[in-house]
Symmetry: D2
Subunit: 336 residues, 4 copies
């Protein structure tokens, strides 16, 4: 049994992680932590006002701490479900103590000195760990993940955006001069559990946000090696991401070419489901660890549709998938 902790366990992704890790036959979940001044400190994660669905399933307390020195001795695995700046600051401590770290924040996703100053507004202090970090897009970086100590789990939008596009880029089917137009709609849980007017029940209403300025645009472009126009939206639903990607294929590319490309990379991947002559609706994946992909081609115009649960394949499930890969477990253990 490997021992794991979740740092930042009171958030939506943290609670999903707690559920998966409790179900995992090879993992002992030893502690859930929250920040020192969290109002949830001391409560059980299954508290009536936190995650009552976990009552009787995961009844661990949320420990408020900023000092992990006693915890770190006993643990093998750390999941960081924390803000970017917190992950940035504490990941090295765990790494230097020999833990394997799965970071769900953006703190180690792009190995570029300028990326963090430009898009996150801080100077990255840990270039040595940026160099070693592996981007946890599980279907694409299997071998690197297997050998990594620090896995930077991709954001929810980048996962939904890259999984349909990467096979086409890899097989050189796209007319790269035309930037793919990614319109994605996220459920409100993507905004987290911190109260703000924007996320109130009575305020939510479909709208675009972060037009041309969202941090996931450069994350997508960097890892795709292709510029994109990315427009995120907030939808009127709790969970899930739906991405509609409009792009242009090279002359002569057929429907079959595209399906062949998708199948080449995903046929043996348990968490990507490719649709033939159809495309998925959001509900196909809610509560499930899949990313579903479909498409329609007309002339050189290609519409790709991808859907995922933003908290699962877009966060917690992909993190656990990476952990399964890293430690040689079946990729879907605890997930299906």
């Amino acid at each position: 049994m490997l021992k794991a902790i979740i740092v930042g366990a009171s958030g939506y992704a943290g609670a999903k992680l707690a559920y998966y890790l409790t179900k995992h036959p090879n993992i002992e979940l030893v502690a859930l932590t929250v920040s020192e001044n969290s109002l949830d400190a001391g409560k059980l994660i299954s508290d009536r006002f936190l995650y009552p669905q976990l009552k009787g399933v995961v009844d661990l307390p949320l420990i408020a701490t900023a000092d992990y020195s006693s915890l770190v001795k006993d643990i093998d695995i750390v999941f960081l479900a924390t803000e970017h700046s917190v992950s940035h600051d504490i990941a090295p401590f765990f790494l230097e103590n020999g833990c394997t770290v799965f970071d769900l924040s953006g703190a180690f996703r792009v190995n570029s000195p300028s990326f963090y100053t430009q898009f996150y507004g801080f100077e990255h202090q840990h270039q040595q760990w940026l160099d070693k970090a592996v981007y946890g897009l599980a279907e694409w970086n299997f071998d690197a993940i297997k050998n990594a100590q620090l896995i930077a789990v991709p954001g929810c939008y980048p996962t939904a955006s890259q999984l349909p596009l990467k096979p086409l880029i890899e097989e050189d089917l796209l007319d790269k001069r035309q930037w793919p137009v990614i319109n994605a709609v996220s459920g409100v849980s993507g905004a987290g559990r911190k109260p703000s007017t924007n996320n109130l029940f009575c305020e939510v209403s479909l709208h675009a946000y972060g037009i041309f300025t969202h941090r996931h645009q450069p994350e997508i472009a960097t890892h795709l090696g292709q510029e994109v126009i990315f427009t995120p939206h907030l939808g009127c639903f709790k969970d899930g991401i739906h991405a509609t990607i409009t792009c242009q294929v090279k002359e002569g590319v057929s429907e079959e070419d595209i399906l062949t490309a998708l199948n080449k990379y995903y046929d043996d991947k348990p968490l990507v489901r490719v649709y033939q002559k159809q495309w998925p609706a959001l509900k196909s994946v809610i509560g499930l660890p899949y990313c579903d992909i479909g498409f329609v081609l007309k002339g050189q115009h290609l519409i790709l549709i991808s859907v995922e649960d933003n908290l699962l394949k877009g966060a917690a499930a992909q993190a656990v998938q990476c952990m399964n890969i890293r430690f040689g477990f079946d990729e879907i253990t605890a997930l299906l």
Copy 2:
């Protein structure tokens, strides 16, 4: 033209008031105020992040102030869409300066010294105004409202609860030993626009709250002259209140007796709609100033159903209805 202001205009009821008063042919809406430290201070009420639906309709700024001395000189009417304690503190100032005050809070709804200590946790300082305040249940206190300077507009639950029950009590049709059981479900807007975990889009889920402890229970019981068991719930919808009232009629009371009683009091009332051999659904009243009432009788068991928009007949529309009554306008001016 009478001049009116709205104090606390950034909340949900305040914004509805702003809309009605702007449409009102006899009212000039001269100012909207918010508390001194409001984050919304200075913005237009029709700001993209406040009430963009009002863009081009009501484009007044939200003025942050705690000092109304300059404002008070020019105005005839004040709507207080403020917290109980704020209304309690500032209503006398406006009243002493000759304004007519419509208070949407609970600060003047019950003329009893002990009521506020017991249920609101503060010592009421203005007994002389409590004595003069008229309870603005418009269909029942028409004459008193006509002559009042301070109208305490009823809460949303009390309106939905009292309108169906009062005719039956007035006509002595109920077996009063059996306390009516009022189960009511409110939309989330009833909880206001202040961010809190409870009102987040991802947290809202049908549940009971304030069981045996909600302040509206004594308000209902006092004004009905009948004890009740009142259980409020938060529903998964934005606006509206749905009340299901289970009670017992006296032996021999017929369906016709009940319909006759309801019609006696509401036939000539434009904002109460009584259903015959049917009962309303919540959607009947959303965005509208009505309270709809229906019922079913079996033996001595009576189920009354009432629905209203919590922000309209349960707040802003009833306040404007009271103003229309008070100043001799047609009762539904600006409302329909």
Copy 3:
């Protein structure tokens, strides 16, 4: 491995059953059937327009048939997720061929000749099977279920209503002259997957229905041995039932008496979770096989709150729980 089929597999409860039975280590799910003229005939249950979430998980076709003679030879267990009249007509065939039948309809829930003429509008033809049928309220009829060939799984409202009330009745804590008032709100999935104006996205709105006439009222009263006033409502959400039960306890009954009674019957039951000094919200149980119960006592007035997923503890999960009991598997196998 026991072999099972689901009759009526295209409905919401049928699809949940298909999922559970596929996950069950002791069950082989051999066929899914639908009625002869079903539009879904021939499609996979995981079809894009049926239950795409099951893609890759349960990919069985929906077989249209009214003739089960070839199927019946090989199977041990039949789940009937069919209309009352269909269950009534075909259950005997399976029973006479030696199958164990779990019927999710109301066709065998009450052993009384007059019940079906009065509340279901048909003459029951199978008194011998009514005599043998066991009511599958799993926490209460464990021993009878263990030995039954025909298990009539309770309706969703009756489960949510009886589980909180039965311990109090059993321990004689209620003042039985006061009929408990059960106000329950169901998600729209309770109305099934057959298109009708009432269930359209744009038509759904909180409302009461079947006041004094719903079939679940006599089912509840019969199995409780206590008359009740039961008012069902349709809520603005997909899944779940929330019941608010107002009743009167005998003089002298304390909060501790009630908690003791609930714990006495449910402490060792894995699918009932009792709350102490709290009560559950609907979200606690969505997607989960639990019934959660809480309560508040004031004087002799008692409010009980219970919640369940109407398709799970209110249908499919309880059916599988009964099967687990019947065949000696762990009660929660495939459910948690």
Copy 4:
């Protein structure tokens, strides 16, 4: 007073029309009709199971008829809120009897013989009326509408798509080689009130539909004079359309150029609201007759956002707006 009827009054757009026309000071609404075999025939439009919100406001019965010969004598204006084929068949009868017809269907929107065979699957029989029909995009065809007898009110998607794009095309700001990518999400009311599995409360889930095949694509392209890629989606909300339009401007075009173009055409238009350095959310327009437009420019990449209530500016309100223009009333009469 002009006399008007609504044909197809039981649908969502029909009911909105009934409300507006009842409020209109210059119109007498004389009849509401439905198709001969409608289940709603004979009911009041304000029936509990139709549009109870209209109770006491519009209490006209729905008359089932296919023979309008008696009706036609007395009326000046006909609104057709009917299916394309019905409008196609009956519009000429009303026109030949001297009525002015506002058709909300697609039957007369494009003056091209091949359009209907190709996209609607029928041979258009009324070329003479196609020739005379005026496309009712109110802000753009004011003069033509003033003199028309047959006004083809645009579809909901085409209105939301054309209003932001037309000023830019008119001012020649777009790089027309790059087809604008229009991603639009519609509320479920756009699919009508006819029961179908797709529109059930439990089935609705964000998804794209009609990719490359929706009839509104050629309607948009024809009236814009610009090819577009149009991808419609069904959203998880009742009313409204949100369009995100990604396009490319010519080199050197600035933010100010775009704002100037939008203001040039809409500054004096009461039902189009242009946002400066901001863009609207869907809620800005729900229940209101506006189309709101905002945009962001980065380099030559332009994102336009437009929102409208699909049943209002996308149907009933625009039809009434056209009527107001046609008969010389203030453009917003009955609408605001």
